[in-house]
Symmetry: C2
């Protein structure tokens, strides 16, 4: 399906006899649901990045930790690769199955084990939905801060595996900053506890290492997250701009003024119109860009910040500034943003959602670069940003039924990511590398760094059985993909566009 | 010096001819200061844990990054171990030299390279003092939050290496939470950049891995730290208690009330009297315990929090509650706390400062356990805590000139750390493992985990040349030290005391 991705560059996978593997797993895992028929496996052939599809050899749905241990031990004995999956909402293909591997589905581990309001933690199983944690904590006035747009559906195990972000991560950090401890099982079937209730843990920081490791180091079986007190008050200001670059600059101005918004989001005209048409959020459809700025905290603090943000926005050339009247309007403003992806999806048969990060000061320059890539490729690009933390989500519109358009969209996407690296940013903000961005990892890192990543991986999984072909490219892939590594913020061939 | 520590358990170090090593390093490093005479090396024989002293074979004081690269490359070729040191204020012996190794002193790398108030970051060399960063950022209304008591003297490279904490870490996190990027050099002399200005970095989280790695993975040559806006207002409340356990419970009550203090500290009677005698901070010398609770933020918020904290303290049985009248009194309250260690040092010829962390709810139980250990050993123990984050600093008083007292103090200290692990805590809060707590690592982790740590170390430094014998014990050491690993929060022999 993906034209740019050549899986032969990941090296050979073990030759496995599916019938034998099924037989051995059935012996080792009595009572465990093992799906092997086509119609049963079909629903698992992709995650949220549906442009990539692979039919897994076998799907396992264990119910107990002991079954997960036994499954991993057996796969280790058989040399059988394992891809772990939660809710399957990931956007970078991190849970894309393998034809020659087992897909380990953790969705049955969906219990909230403990809410401790005094210690302000929740101990949950990995299949618990992100939003369910905040719902369970709500009676204690607490919540779990990271809030990916998929929070109704995505599960916490996947959030950890991809180090997921969200609107509130500007102020409250990514998943890694909100996880206190993990229980994991290694490929050899050993249980380990990473982190603790204490602020620090001796030895190397394995807890941080697991966050964002995309199922390559072990399988997460329990997550202890930090809970935060729900802010007394939250307000949202919407500002409109008739110039995209002014909006970009206003973002930096707000931060430079010493304000830390709960969220600071930006949408361009195409995204505004799509969202307004879909959600009727009350967005100004003529604006070139809008900013949504949420301020939260105690009442007096929020009022003071609102006043200062209005001043900064006015000075930055905002053509309209609206404070959401009440919680209903505030929710409507956010609904437009949170549904921007499906809204844009209504404009075009297909779209490709990118996820790069840049230093805030580079927003105007990168916006120009994206516009140029859009012009030269002829593909429309809608821009939706977590602007406060410089996390871009350009949505590239295309039609997969038109010959060459998917390939063109992927090339434009790749060029956008390389532009992010060129200005000192990174190829992922919150969606992870997965399968989607594995080529761009060769841009982000040099051969020494990639070699080090492989050595770290080998410390946990020397036979490379956990999610092979994701996250960390082989050196062969980087050699094939070309010497794209950036030195001193300069790509070898800095002229744009490169598709 | 340390009776419990047998360095033969770290395995043999390479046999090195000091004269040959000096000759080779002189050739490779023209113009670099290399100290080899006894009187020149003597000042470097210990760090802040002065009970442990080793004369380094050779001390190198490079001036440029290129010299550090050349030094590491040469040591790698020669198989010569390297211990890196900053200001030498560390309290766990992390920078203790090796008789057969080079001590690499980074103190000449003391320049602040950039303060970027818009991006809210400071880029500094590793030898820059912790407090100097906040001083340089002050004109922009910004500061660097982690504030170890040694902040006047300690350097940021060492803060990263030990993942240092401080009074403000309860609210603002440890060093790891406040570092944005690092430049490092591997033992092979390769430069690497870890992290970026973006919130997330793809691949495994090497940045977090380096924080707290105690010079075992590479040498830090540049640190980019996050700067925070200085809070508009800060107040300190001092509460006295006639019962230590009530004070311990009040800590949990404040957190459970949804308040996040800037700092929340506790001192027991012995520490109170010592500090008052030394600093005249205005502490109530009859109290069994005091709490110092700092509240910071915008004016109205702080006022509101002060009111709520007073209520919680009164309900918890505080016998006195005093709000510092002004900044001068606030500074005096903190001066007593920040000088508690030297103050206690005046009570006894020697003291041994421990550093463990426990879940807050276990404070009363652990305080009882420490009192019992003190009674049974006959050694006085003064308690100074970062109570809000459960980080204990028991100070064990002894006289090294009395036969057996140092050994007894070390045994009591070891038992306190094991008690911390037993209640679900850890053997270090902010001072690191270093040489001091390497035996207790065998309590904290099992053989599989220790093996994994060694494999991670080998990914960076396969020949184990960087700071060998610190942080991660050999399996031989753990076998010798005994099967002390805790399972299910139960030590194999849970009866106390164990010294």
């Amino acid at each position: 399906m993906n034209i740019l991705y050549d899986e032969r560059l990941d090296g050979p996978l073990p030759a496995v006899d599916p019938t034998l593997a099924l037989e051995r797993l059935r012996e080792a895992l009595p009572g465990v649901t093992l799906l092997h028929r086509d119609e049963d496996r079909r629903p698992f052939e992709c995650d949220g990045l549906s442009a990539y599809r692979v039919m897994p050899m076998l799907v396992a749905l264990p119910d107990t930790i002991e079954q997960v241990e036994a499954l991993l031990r057996t796969c280790h004995e058989l040399g059988l690769p394992v891809v772990t999956r939660g809710a399957g909402t990931g956007l970078s293909g991190g849970a894309l199955p393998l034809e020659q591997g087992v897909l380990l589905v953790m969705s049955r581990f969906n219990r909230i084990l403990q809410i401790d309001p005094d210690a302000r933690i929740a101990r949950v199983q990995p299949g618990v939905r992100n939003l369910a944690i905040s719902e369970a904590a709500a009676p204690h006035g607490l919540y779990f801060a990271p809030d990916p747009s998929s929070q109704i559906a995505c599960s916490i195990g996947g959030n950890v595996a991809e180090n997921a972000g969200g609107v509130h991560c500007l102020k409250y950090g990514l998943t890694v900053h909100n996880v206190q401890a993990l229980e994991v099982i290694t490929i050899e079937g050993e249980r380990m506890t990473l982190g603790s209730e204490a602020l620090d843990t001796p030895g190397f920081d394995l807890l941080a290492l697991f966050n964002g490791s995309e199922g390559m180091l072990g399988v997460i079986t329990e997550v202890t997250v930090k809970l935060l007190p729900r802010p007394q008050s939250a307000k949202v200001i919407m500002a409109s701009f008739d110039d995209l670059e002014n909006a970009g600059r206003a973002v930096g101005d707000i931060i430079a003024a010493g304000i830390v918004p709960g969220g600071l989001e930006m949408m361009d005209n195409l995204a505004i119109r799509a969202a307004e048409d879909f959600i009727h959020a009350g967005y100004p459809v003529e604006a070139e860009a809008i900013l949504l700025c949420e301020l939260d905290g105690v009442e007096a603090d929020v009022a003071d910040d609102c006043r200062r943000v209005r001043e900064v926005l006015a000075a930055a050339g905002a053509t309209g500034i609206t404070l959401a009247r009440d919680d209903a309007e505030r929710a409507r403003f956010w609904a437009g943003r949170k549904n921007a992806f499906p809204a844009v999806g209504r404009l075009s048969p297909d779209y490709y959602c990118m996820d790069g990060t840049i230093p805030r000061r580079e927003l105007p320059r990168v916006l120009k670069g994206i516009a140029r890539l859009s012009d030269e490729s002829g593909l429309r690009v809608a821009n939706v940003f977590h602007a406060g933390d410089g996390n871009l989500h350009p949505l590239i519109l295309f039609d997969a039924n038109e010959a060459g358009e998917l390939e063109l969209a992927e090339r434009v996407g790749g060029s956008i990511l390389e532009l992010c690296v060129e200005v000192g940013g990174t190829i992922t903000g919150e969606h992870g590398v997965g399968r989607e961005k594995i080529n761009q990892m060769c841009t982000q890192f040099d051969a020494d760094e990639i070699t080090l990543f492989h050595a770290l991986k080998a410390a946990f999984d020397p036979r490379t059985l956990l999610n092979p072909g994701k996250n960390i490219p082989t050196l062969a892939r980087c050699a094939e993909y070309g010497a794209m590594h950036v030195h001193n913020n300069q790509l070898p061939h800095p002229e744009l566009p490169r598709f």
